[in-house]
Amino acid sequence: MLYILRRVAFYLAAFFVAVTLNFFIPRIMPGDPSARIIASFQGRLNEAQVEAIRASYGTTGSLWEQYIGYVGQVLRMDFGISTVQFPEPTSSLLFYGATWTLVLVGIAITFAFLIGTMMGIHAAWNRGGFFDSVFTPINVMLNAFTPAVVALLLFYAFSLQLQWFPLGRAHATGLSPSWDPQFIGNVLYHATLPVLSILIVSFGGWHLGMRNVMINLLNEDFVILARAKGLSDRRVRYRYVARNAILPQITSLALSVGFLLGGALVTEQVFNYPGLGKFTVTAIESRDYSFIQAQLLLLTMSVLVANFLSDIANVILDPRLRKG
């Protein structure tokens, strides 16, 4: 319990730091949101109008006042109004983007984790065998590939040339979101290539991580004892070894959420997938403060939440952490 409390204290502090950073970072960027709006009129404004727009879209008050206002907003979960899509509330766009990023990254992380972990278990169990000697290095090298190139090649080959998969978007334009199987099928169909492009470059890490932890465990006495007890291979492999090896994997999983959300950005760009990454790039280009802030905050929060969940999972899975 104490462990969890300490973690909670850390999360609160980290959250505060993130909130503060998120406020200041976009503000030290040159340019301000009104510039883009003014520019979008291509000179068709007279000066009075330019000034009026500056006054009403630009930022007002001292930095400190802005900061206080912003913290208040954050606490109320009010993220202001987007200037790229004026006057849409940031939260509605954010929610929309986050949903699709969650679909994309959620599926990708799950599969990468499952596939990589299973492969890692297999490789470690048959250490030195064909699978281990061939696939371990290959899978890990895939990890060092550029997501951009992988996404691009998939898009080019399967969407443009072979036309097996759609050109982009999260679902066909005619459909409206619902839980019916047709829509879900359509979403999965659209997500296939983007997911694949994240998957390809990420499962190798899980493979290697699991393999290495497993191998270290294989020589532990408790594993030898399990073997000596005549337990079945399956039981030793999963209950005795994988069960323990999964603990560090879960911690890395949580930390990788941030990396993956970031990495999805390129994929979303290539596949015109309406996720947060795309919105973020646009928001940055147009100095949409409220969106950048809200987006960074959301990312930080999701990483924090992921970490918190992994802490809890660790406590549940590792009895050694339960007390103290």
């Binding site: 065998g129 941030g258 940055i284």
Partner: protein
């Protein structure tokens, strides 16, 4: 027992320090080093390989690979081969620069936190955790756009500043376990200065972790530079592997059939990544010999199988 193919250890390795000897006899590690060295040399010696200027047009647009343009030309008529060679300088420079810087910052923070403990540790660990928790790439994008145009240098600095979380964490854990080792206490009781203990007693034992952090950091930095340039947040004037991809993508190299504009930088990145991965494999195996899958184990399994037996345990 001939089937087990036991070779005598090459004699010359005995003159090297044991971990170095382990490295040079590790086939994965050495192939990584050789590939990497080849790429680095290729980049450094770029002017020797090509008379073209990577920033200037060298021929007609989209010339297919030919005698004059070994890897063809870009849509703008720049020589791809030359760009790959020169681009390597910056990509590798950013990668290694940021990788090394992040590893060094991580090392400094990790060691200090682990060695000094107490308040220092609490504070440093907090920052490490914050850096770990802050979303990486998006933050980099925001910071990179702070400056009007994110040249390779800026990208490198930003990557270094955001990339030290991981190494700091592993190194701190490692330091914590080293600090309880008696040779550290013994040096303290001997009256050694703190910095000397850190540099001479602790650091050398952390070399492999440092190396591994450096290698992984470098891969991450190279990939991040490529990704940032690819989505157009880099400086398109710079010639790096990432900007080459950016231009290839912008000029629809794939659609126009100019595969030679996109594959060379893509392969260069992949090859570098692969080489670094192999080096990291070797470093892992040296720190933890168990990880060495060892052809030996496979051979023993076969040996036993042929005799109708199976390996007893793993």
């Amino acid at each position: 027992m001939r089937e087990l193919r036991i070779k005598k250890k090459p004699g010359w390795t005995s003159r090297l320090s044991p971990s170095l000897a382990a490295f040079v006899t590790n086939p994965k590690g050495m192939s990584g080093v050789i590939i990497l060295l080849a790429i680095i040399l290729f980049s450094i010696l770029a002017p020797m390989f090509s008379e073209y200027n990577p920033h200037r047009r060298a021929g007609k647009p989209h010339v297919a690979p030919s005698y004059e343009h070994v890897m063809g030309t870009t849509r703008m008529g720049k020589d791809v081969y030359t760009q790959v060679a020169y681009g390597g300088r910056i990509s590798l420079g950013v990668g290694f620069g940021a990788g090394i810087a992040a590893a060094v910052i991580g090392l400094a923070i990790g060691i200090s936190a682990g060695y000094f403990g107490g308040r220092v540790d609490d504070i440093l660990t907090f920052f490490v955790n914050v850096v770990l928790v802050l979303p990486g790439l998006p933050l980099i994008i925001v910071i990179a756009s702070l400056v009007d145009s994110a040249g390779p240098l800026v990208i490198g600095i930003v990557l270094a500043l955001t990339g030290w979380g991981w190494p700091a964490r592993t190194i701190r854990t490692q330091t914590l376990s080293l600090r309880t080792r008696e040779f550290v206490l013994s040096a303290e009781l001997m009256g050694e200065k703190k910095w000397r203990i850190i540099f001479k007693e602790i650091f050398p034992n952390m070399l492999s972790f440092f190396m591994s952090g450096l290698v992984l950091g470098t891969i991450a930095a190279i990939l991040a530079e490529a990704a940032l340039s690819f989505i157009g947040l880099g400086d398109p004037n710079a010639v790096t592997w990432g900007t080459m991809l950016y231009w290839a993508q912008n000029n629809m190299a794939l659609q126009t059939g100019a595969w030679w504009e996109i594959w060379p930088p893509a392969l260069a990145i992949m090859l570098t990544g692969a080489a670094l991965v192999m080096i990291n494999f070797a470093v892992d195996e040296i720190t933890n010999p168990q990880l060495k899958a060892g052809r030996k184990i496979g051979l023993i399994r076969k040996f036993l199988k042929r005799r109708g037996r199976s390996a007893d345990v793993f």
